[in-house]
Symmetry: C2
Subunit: 339 residues, 2 copies
């Protein structure tokens, strides 16, 4: 038998055409759902496709149509669960619009990020969404602002690259105001993320809100970390706990992982949360509700952040010269028992 579903070798559109006794143009037409093909012919072609086990070579199609229908999402750290819901939001919008979304783990490394952008430059992907630290994006924005990409969560408002994120300054202020309303005056900030926009913005929000409350912040309450690890948070708490009379009664950590570490650290130093010290986190990752005590934190609309980023990108793809705006989405303070 010469007919088999198993493609013995590479069967091309020409083979299918020959089998069906038509031209390659006609095969292409039925493959692409064009209507100007007689029904009988269409069936003959479909039959030939099936019996030959033909698979379209998308590489060739992409070369011809000059698009890949691939979108890239760059995340600085695949292990950080914070990104999961955002990615899901991006993926669902991409998929609904006939695009594949593929993830790139850049490790927040400018060189690796750059190499993934080369996929864009080389036409292997149509567009990208970048979640990398603003500092890492910066160089990119200068040399590649013409490329079809948008920034998500982290961005440089001045870079001319479309973005979506939240108002970190306001969110940090909300946390401080929540804490002062509960009577706290000695509030520590455990900050992190060199090169991250959110770090700078939350610090500013913290400072401004303290000032508005007439509180002079003690420099010892501000801890700048270079990690989001549980360990780092633990060490920060130990440091704070050793402050004696100047010890803060509340601590605001810029991520939930850090906040969980902070709680452990205080507990290790013999303090109880929230009685001796209140702890607030940021992000509302899944585990936040399941630690003891459950963590009070700020939640970002992660799914929506992702969906919006994807929509901005698609808009830019549809019309490269469209004015795509920067958009800020609302956050929400989730009150649980740690503060």
């Amino acid at each position: 038998m010469s007919d088999t579903v198993r493609p013995r070798e590479e069967v091309s559109i020409a083979d299918v055409a020959e089998r069906a006794g038509v031209s390659v143009a006609t095969v292409s037409r039925v493959l692409n759902g064009h209507t100007n093909v007689r029904e009988a012919t269409r069936e003959r072609v479909l039959e030939a496709v099936a019996s030959s086990g033909y698979r379209i070579n998308e590489l060739a199609r992409n070369l011809r149509t000059a698009e890949s229908r691939l979108l890239l999402t760059m995340v600085p750290d695949f292990g950080n669960p914070f990104y999961a819901a955002i990615v899901r939001g991006i993926d669902s919008v991409a998929r609904q619009n006939g695009y594949f979304m593929l993830l790139c783990d850049t490790g927040a490394d400018p060189l690796r990020e750059r190499s993934y952008f080369d996929l864009l430059r080389g036409r292997r992907a149509d567009g990208a969404i970048c979640l990398d630290p603003a500092a890492v994006q910066k160089a990119l924005a200068e040399e590649s602002s013409a490329l079809p990409w948008v920034a998500c969560c982290e961005f440089d408002p001045a870079a001319g690259v479309p973005y979506v994120g939240i108002d970190n300054h306001l969110a940090a202020g909300d946390v401080v105001r929540y804490l002062t309303a509960k009577g706290h005056r000695r509030i520590a900030l455990i900050n992190s993320g060199h090169g991250y926009l959110y770090g700078r913005q939350r610090l500013a929000g913290y400072r401004d809100a303290l000032k508005d409350a007439g509180i002079e912040p003690n420099p010892a309450w501000l801890i700048e970390l270079d990690s989001l690890d549980y360990d780092a948070g633990e060490r920060a708490a130990a440091q704070l706990a050793a402050l004696g009379d100047a010890r803060p009664t509340a601590a605001f950590a810029v991520s939930d992982t850090l906040a969980i570490g902070v709680m452990n650290g205080f507990r290790g130093a013999g303090f109880s949360v929230p009685d001796d010290v209140a702890v607030v986190g940021f992000d509302d990752i899944a585990v936040a509700a399941h630690v003891d005590p459950p963590l009070t934190t700020v939640s970002q609309p992660m799914q929506l952040l992702g969906e919006t980023a994807a929509e901005l990108l698609l808009k830019r793809l549809r019309d490269p010269r469209a004015e795509v705006p920067g958009v800020l989405l609302p956050h929400r303070l989730i009150e649980r028992r740690s503060a």
Copy 2:
């Protein structure tokens, strides 16, 4: 000025050739680092490349060379931190060998997984590594065992698809033996993952080890969940805690997330871990060492699992008819304070 680094329009290899006053073949040669080009010519070409802002169109190159240098990794759940280190292992090997690795979040959905496999079929990726549940892989293995892919963690030994994983049966037995050695006789298993091979294997390992220890397992000690959520673990613990005299003194959960939930659940029911009930998890995810009490768990060599998977795939890519073996890697019981 007509010379500018900014590519006004799409500049192709022909444009560069014209600029440099050579043929496209010569441009291609210097682009691909062939040595048979006179130094002066090479420089002229490089100069033309730079001044024109030329970027090779990889789509065209890929079509011509019939490879994309793209590898896909399919994960069932991007939000599960368990996969992070594995993915990093895959990525590092891929990168060292000149491949890009891109991630696909399949949501353990056979249809979505299938659509990603279409990228392979359509030549848009050269190979894939699949971390999806064995049950989801099954259909794939039947229709696509000829495609260049390997299974990681989850696999069907009989499918003829190369795989790498651990000996889950042995690992579960190790946990039970560890617990019986500490005097436990009433040991619960909180299992999960319909369609996951690891679930079936760990259950078998648990049963066999109990039998070897002369323990008749109480059916009430076996809880089958359909989730790995903290919540699910919490509910399982509540159920176990309500068992009265038949209440187990130890619980083995097949994932750390579940185990953390279990600890919370027992605590919520007024029991202390490990004094009233010992808890063991599986995976050794980052947070496992940072809960209270720190979780005793089984660690898998995640980075190595990923690296090995990538190497198997590369071997298969280099020689499509090579016999690629299935490999099992060693696990390790990490003793902390929860059991």
